[in-house]
Symmetry: C2
Subunit: 222 residues, 2 copies
DNA sequence: CCGCTCTAGTTTGTATACAAAATACACTTG
DNA sequence: CAAGTGTATTTTGTATACAAACTAGAGCGG
């Protein structure tokens, strides 16, 4: 075992761990949009003091996942129709950039991985495994971002994406939309494999537009 | 005095105040890129305890202005050439979106304000007032973002922009570049006034590209 | 019965205290 | 003298304690 292989023992600070856990909880819907976050309740739940928890909440607030109201505590931000309308042109432009960069920098190995994930995703769809599908979907999109080799872009899109992606838990996906999404992914993968940047960008942007349209239908009118 | 006019008494939490102050200090270069941030030193300076200061640092970390290393404290992030190369395509795409949205939603009043700022900026340039120029420049760009009427876009661009804008303090601007920038602004203002979205987007993107090129020349090779 | 006020209890904001890790530096040892 | 080791000091991480603000609800008055 070479020296460079030894990963340093993970003695991560609590606030770091808490940030990730809370983020996951929000993304998974375990903390529902609009829900009020009681510091004490979470402290009891995690068995930590308020100090690291508050630090974690501050970071999530800066990411836009929670809203802080002075002396009134934190709450999970809720995605409104207006937010969706705002986010759409921004995310659309970023998707297009991601597509072009990914096509330019993607490796053979990444293409192979993407294709494997794609067939796994198709299997989940056929089996009616929505949760598994979401997981694959997530990993494919993350892979494309990774292929773009641009951490700044990745960070921007994830910051925005996490906000939008939560809408899934506010609005269920229809059968039709699901089938359509899978089909769109087939085309996306092909564009990636052939490194057709412009087409990939356009497909990703369209994929997003369709998702937004579906969400808009399903989102509560309020 | 109407009820809606009463601004709530400013009883802002310390961590909020600290976040803004520290952000300004970083953006103004009072805290230099790469500089190590000692919690104790800042606490003494502001006369507060470490708790709110640490919360402020966490938020700035989430914004990408400071880097946190476990058990080793915080430091102001340094803009590298690679960061610039990464940020450029992302910001470029966003500038284009901003231009189109701004053209579509800008009001007459905003156009008038922009033109006033523009002549003020020209005056600063002729007077050799670099600091004043920066201030005008900043306000014009902020106005354009405001005109786009898209808070999400604003937030994204500011998050990215603050990172890049700091480069000014790492790299001084040449006389030539300054004159060029002023000229570019004239064209930008005209496109805004005539609500030519595509042209405005392209001009903003080009303006950014030129700025990036100038920075790249002036940035320390490391 | 509705609405106000005042108080008790809860929750957030900040400071301080203590624990753990990292740094600095003197000291030993080859 | 160089390299390494051990200890003292500093700095960061977390918990607790206390202060200030908000919330809820009882009691009072219209």
């Amino acid at each position: 075992m070479s020296l460079s292989d030894v990963t340093p023992i993970a003695r991560r600070p609590l606030h770091e761990e808490l940030t990730e856990r809370l983020r996951s909880m929000i993304l998974d819907g375990a903390l529902a949009p609009g829900e009020k976050i009681s510091e004490k309740a979470l402290c009891d739940r995690f068995g930590v003091s308020r100090t690291p928890l508050r630090e974690a909440l501050k970071m999530l607030a800066a990411e836009g996942l929670v809203a802080l109201t002075p002396h009134r505590g934190a709450s999970v931000t809720r995605l409104t129709m207006a937010d969706l309308d705002e986010a759409f042109p921004v995310l659309g432009a970023l998707e297009a950039v991601a597509g072009e960069l990914a096509s330019a920098h993607v490796t053979e190995a990444e293409i192979a991985t993407a294709q494997a994930l794609q067939s796994q995703m198709r299997a989940c769809h056929e089996a009616g495994d929505l949760k598994g599908y979401f997981a694959c979907n997530e990993r494919i999109h993350r892979l494309i971002l990774q292929a773009a080799k641009n951490p700044t872009l990745t960070q921007m899109m994830q910051a925005l994406g996490t906000r939008v992606r939560r809408a899934r838990y506010q609005a269920n996906m229809s059968e039709d939309r699901w089938a359509q999404a899978v089909a769109e992914h087939e085309a996306i993968l092909e564009a990636l494999a052939t490194r057709d940047g412009v087409r990939l960008g356009a497909l990703l942007k369209q994929h997003l537009a369709n998702k937004a349209a579906a969400l808009r239908e399903a989102l509560p009118p309020a």
